[in-house]
Subunit: 345 residues, 4 copies
């Protein structure tokens, strides 16, 4: 059995992590940490666990004390909060899976530019592996420090990787128009996230400046073999869960929808969690699952290809992929504990 | 392994049933029937199964042919559509679990009064058992024909049974004000169920005339030992899933909230799926699970007790309870395949 | 022209008030006050006004200074915040319309019991008039201090008044099961009001203890002529606007639905804003309007009558009724500025 | 007074039209036509009018008979249904404002290609004017046959016209990613439009093949002076109303956000209904109004400009713009009956 601890277990990603790990046949949860809810019963905060999970949230101080009980630490904290505990964990031989952004960017300068703070554990950056399982599986197996991808990057990179790998598109004109449910804004008490402010409305935000941009560019550049710049625009949609990424690019040659679908099917042929679907993906079909649905359509009139990917932002976009990474890192069957499908509605 | 067939597998309850049975460790699905989608792939209709469930929907005629392959037939059809196939199944020694209303009412006259059609298999009524597992477990074990309770009755009866069993309330003044998500209206193409007609609105419907009324009265009367009449008012709420039943009654003696909670906890002490919660239940905490959360509050000023129960209408209110009944009927552990919790959001 | 000021103009009720008064042909808005947004442009907070309302929010201190510019002060502040400015306004001869709870209850003891704080301007209570326009029009005409009814009380009292006025029901068994959209919780940054906490769920809250209870009882007792106690249970529904109140009571005599509808039609025959509808009311039909729809149904089996009323909590339940009261107090046509209907969707 | 008739008054656009015209100070509604609800009271279908609009829907045959009573006919029917009545109306000297697609495309061949049916009144195409008021005002004044723009085209063209007029962008790389509320799918009883199928999900549809594409291209080409092809992808969002169009293009020169905002402000400086906003538009701020909010952002890293526009699909995207066109055609003040703002929530 793998012993785990979760930092930030009362945020939305943390809760989803607790849900998955609680069902995982090879895992013991050793502690659930919460800054705001230390010493409260977890099932008083998330009452879906009422009668099923008898755990008291531990403070951050206490979490440090318990690092010696675990094999792997999941961190679901805001960026800038992972440095110290990651260092301590690694020193103790505890593997780290960080769901936040602190170890995703290879360059501490890029980190500083986009996140506005100094990276305080930059020596770990060379060892950390970007945990997009379908692309980096071999490196994931060997690392002790895993940077779990952001939700938007997961959807975007899975959508575009086959096109770039095969150099089928003009790398100068890639546009990602992404849409997310409100859980992506986290469980912070902000007026902008109130029901009556989000419901019955849609907006773009962070146009040209969202922090997931350099992460997408870094990883797509690796796939492509050259530096790539993209335009990325996230939107907020009145639903709890889900990300849809609509990706636009110009085909270099004439390729039909069918030809491209075959290329995608081949690219992901061994992947359990990525499905190339015939019709346009809908987030509901992957909601509550670790799946990514991808649809491809060539617009012959403009010789542009539109790839649409759908994930659940809290599962494949956060906690599910984190557990998928854990499974790889600990040499378990990759799908262990992740075989649940969407209920459909 | 238990071999099963599902009639009406493309309705919402049918789909939930497929979802649960597909994960059930002791079940093989032998066929999925659909009147409207015969010969279509199931995963083209419900794309959450894309790549995971390779089944073609069979016509009703074909379902009849396959009855000899199965041990139990689940029927998720509109009322009035179960008579013939139930008869045939029972003759072949196949057990029947009907999620519809055709075998819930003991009296064919009551059936005719409320459903407006003649019961065409009334000889089966004396054998059919009302499958509210927590109350009728012993009878369920022995029956071949199980009438799975309606969604509103499940929530209502679980909420009120302890009060009536212990004769703590005035049986003349029981009011059930219930609220349901829109999936309760089914997957029929009706203007009243369109997104833009349901969203951002709430309404009562079927006031004093909803067909679940006689079912609630019949079962509560059995618990109480005398005939009971109640007022039942359902409401439509803009959400996909969930039922909340707010039940009002007048206490005969002075009892505190705490005393009543203890009575409820004792009443349901051996029940895995019924939880007496400290705060007011919310449907989100049971959504996607087979649980029923019950909250109790005495209004001392009026000596009235308000009991609120929350279920997922498609799980404990339909498919989950149907599987719970199957587990009982086939002497499996009652919770098999039903241990999933709500994801919380 | 009537010169007005609004305290608390950036809350949801305050904003609705600004919207209505901005369109009102006989009103000049002299100031919009906001504690949290003092010195900000109003149209930066509520961008629906972008380009149409060029006003800077004034601080509370500045609002005091401007009392001499106005004929009437609207107060849309939390309870306990209205005492001082009301006193000052009345001294200056400015009429006050308080949308909060501070002047609704006749007894300062009842106020203290339910609101948990001492009333600091109790000498005004004898002069304040409860502004449910349809019932108290004559008193409203003459008062300088108007307590605008709560949202739940407006829906509840309008639903039950005809039954109690005519003594048609057992006054001991009145139950009000009410449902509200989330804007009723106000524009405060609370986790409980976040989109992802409210969406796809329904719950009851404040069972037996909601502060609107004594207000409903006080006014219904006046209508009935004797003290009445009711049970009142509010629920939170995932929609922005709307209140539905489902009211249960036992008929003393046998009366048909049709007879009762005629009694209601007669009772409200001169009322522009109250409509007795044939089918069950839906909040969408009154959303964004000052109307109240009332439906009546006798459950002959139990001789109980169920009356359902629907209002928009921010209009007839707050700002719209406040303007209706202003119209009455200033001898304008009562419907001035309030003739807008719901857009339907 | 202008006498008007409405064909298709019970669809969502038709109902919005009835709402606006009912409040319009210079209009008499002479008939409301409905194919499906002929002879029913309008306020039984749309109960927001209960007690306020006493009209019986007339059949199509009867509508023909009443053409001689009116000055202008609004047609809110599906495409292909406007030919005959338009011809008849024009022959009688009745002006026509068609909210459908039948007279928007200049070429009957393009019409046939995209709509799949033969145009049966192609002789009228040379006279019909595309009624995007802000761009075609002078032609609108003089026409008898007005093609009211589609909802997506209205948002898209208003967003892109200034860039193309000033030739600031590469016309080969224009991408429009648009999002619409569900009312855009109309009031047809289709499973895809059911609450439980749309709620809590987002999807793209009609990728590369949506019928609004040629309309957008035709009008943008006129603005630009050369033929333009664009990629247009609509999405379905779980909300009733609203369209957000996120438009991407590559700047030819380096221009700052501020410079472009000034160009837009100048371009629309005389327009009442178009507002250039400082922050990213949200559909809620224009919901229920005839306004279009436009936000502009230059992504300096890629020298791309992202323009986001927000409208209410039923108002500026349909009925509101139709009335704006009527006002222009009848030489009324253009804003008459259209000055209502969004309520904000």
């Amino acid at each position: 059995m793998i012993n785990v601890g979760i930092m930030g277990a009362t945020g939305y990603a943390g809760e989803q992590l607790a849900w998955i790990l609680n069902n995982h046949s090879k895992v013991n949860i050793k502690f659930l940490n919460s800054h705001n809810y230390a010493d409260m019963n977890y099932d008083e905060i998330y009452k879906n666990y009422y009668g099923f999970l008898d755990e008291v949230c531990v403070s951050t101080e206490e979490a440090f004390n318990r690092l010696n009980l675990i094999h792997v630490l999941f961190i679901a904290l805001p960026h800038g909060k992972s440095f110290e505990i990651t260092k301590k964990a690694l020193e103790l031989g505890v593997k780290v899976i960080d769901l936040g952004a602190d170890f995703r960017l290879d360059s501490e300068d890029v980190y500083k530019n986009w996140y506005g703070i100094k990276h305080e554990y930059s020596s770990a950056l060379k060892d950390s592996v970007y945990g997009l399982c379908e692309l980096n599986r071999e490196c994931i197996k060997k690392t002790n420090i895993l940077a779990n991808p952001g939700c938007y990057p997961t959807a975007s990179i899975l959508a575009l990787a086959p096109l770039l790998k095969h150099k089928l598109i003009d790398s100068k004109n890639i546009i990602i128009d992404a849409k997310s449910g409100v859980s992506g804004a986290g469980r912070a008490a902000k007026i902008d996230s109130l029901f009556a402010e989000c419901n019955e409305s849609i907006k773009a935000y962070g146009i040209g400046s969202h922090r997931h941009t350099p992460e997408i560019e870094q990883e797509l550049s690796k796939v492509f073999g050259e530096d790539i710049m993209i335009s990325f625009t996230p939107h907020l949609v009145p639903m709890n869960r889900g990300i849809l990424a609509t990706c636009y690019s110009n085909l270099i040659d004439n390729l039909s929808t069918e030809e491209l679908m075959n290329i995608y099917r081949e690219f992901y042929k061994d992947e359990y969690f990525v499905k190339i679907v015939n019709e346009s993906p809908e987030t509901r079909w992957v909601r509550g699952s670790n799946l990514c649905h991808i649809g491809i359509k060539v617009d012959e009139r403009t010789n542009r290809v539109i790839v649409v990917s759908a994930i659940d932002n809290l599962v494949k976009g956060a906690a599910g992929q984190a557990v998928q990474n854990m499974n790889i890192m600990f040499d378990l069957k990759e799908t262990t504990g992740l075989e649940f499908l969407s209920m459909g509605l």
